[in-house]
Amino acid sequence: MSAKVEEQVREEHPLEKILRMDRIPHIWCPTCGLGTTVTALSSALEQLQLDTNKVAVVSGIGCTGRVAGYMKLDSFHTTHGRAVPFAVGLHIARPDLKTIVFSGDGDLISIGGNHFIHTARRNVDMTIICVNNFIYAMTGGQVAPTTPLTAKAATTPYGNAEHPFNLPLLAASSGAVYVARWTALHVRRLTVAIKEAIQKPGFSFVEVIAPCSTLYARINKLGTGLDLMKFYHDNSVIRHGADLNDVDIDFQSKIVVGKFVDIEKPTYIDCLNAGNKRAFGDKYKPYGGGNGDN
C-alpha cells in the first residue's frame, strides 16, 4: 500500500492516543451511555494535561468494568466488587498516581458497597466514577440496589418492591469530600465534574446516569437509549448544592443533577502522617504525597 493511500485510509480520532485501539470497537450496545462517559473522562484527562503514566484506572466487573481494558493507561480489571479495595492498595503503594475507579452501580454499590462506604469514611484520595444504569446489565438485567421502586427488571417482572440507594447521599454521609451527579447527556458539565474530582484531594464521587437500551429500557418499555437521552434532556433539574435527602430517583421521575458537595478534609495519608508524627516526633519521615504537617 502506498503511503498516500494509507494516509487516506487512516483517519485518527483525537481520543485514539488515550484508548487501546486494538480493542475498539467496544462491546457496548448501540445507544449505551458508557462510551460517552469514557469520552468525558478522556477529555478531562486531556484538558488537565496529566502525564498518562501517572494515571491509573481500576474497574470491577460489568459493562462499565470493561473501561479499564479500553483505556491506554495503567489499568486493572478486578474481580466483582473489589475495584475499590484494589484501588486503596494501589493508592497507598503509589500515592503519586492519580487513582480513578471507573465502575458500575452493581459493582461499586451492591457487591462492593462495604468497601465503598469505608473508603469514603477513611477519605482515601481517589476519584470514583460510578455509572448508574439502574440494573445489572451484563448479566441479563437483574434488579440492582439502584433500581427505582416499581421499575421492572429480569428478576422483578411485576416491578421492584425495594427502595433504591440514593447514591449522592450515601457517598456524602459516608464522608466523601466531592459529590456530583450528571447524566450521560451533560457531557461538558460531566467533563468539568470529573476534572474537579480528579484534582480534589480526598474521596471524590461522580455519579453518571447512563441509558441502558438493551435491558433497562427494553424491560420497562422506555424505547431506545436515544429516548432515554431525550428523557434526561427534558427531566434533569440542575440544582447545585441541593439537599441530598431530596435527590433520590423514582421511576421516570425528575433527576436532580449538579455538584452537591465540595468540602475540604484531610485525606487518609495526611491523617496517617499526622498521627505518626504525633507519636514519633521527628524520627518519623512522612510518607507519600502528604507533607505530614496537616
Partner: protein, 93 residues
Amino acid sequence: MKFWRTPLDIDKLQIPRGELHILKERCKGCGFCVEYCPKGVLELSDEFNSKGYHPPKAVKPEECVNCDLCELLCPDFAIYCVRAEAGEKEVSN
C-alpha cells in the same frame, strides 16, 4: 444571526467553521449526533456499514461550527470535528 443587542466587537467576531470526519465503520447508528447537533448538520444515511448500521452523513456540512458536541456524545468514537480555517464567516446582524 439575530442579536437582541449588536455586540460592540461585531466586526472582529468570526463564526468558526468545522470539518466533520465520520468513521463509518465504527458507527453503531445510535443517532445521538443527529439528534443533538445544534445546527442540524447530520442525518442518518441510507447506506449500510459492514455491521449493518446506518452511519450519519453531513447534509449541511457548511453549517458546522466546530462545537464538538457530536464528538463528545458519540459513544463509539466514530465522529470528530476539526477546525477548518478556510471559510470562516463574518458575523452579520
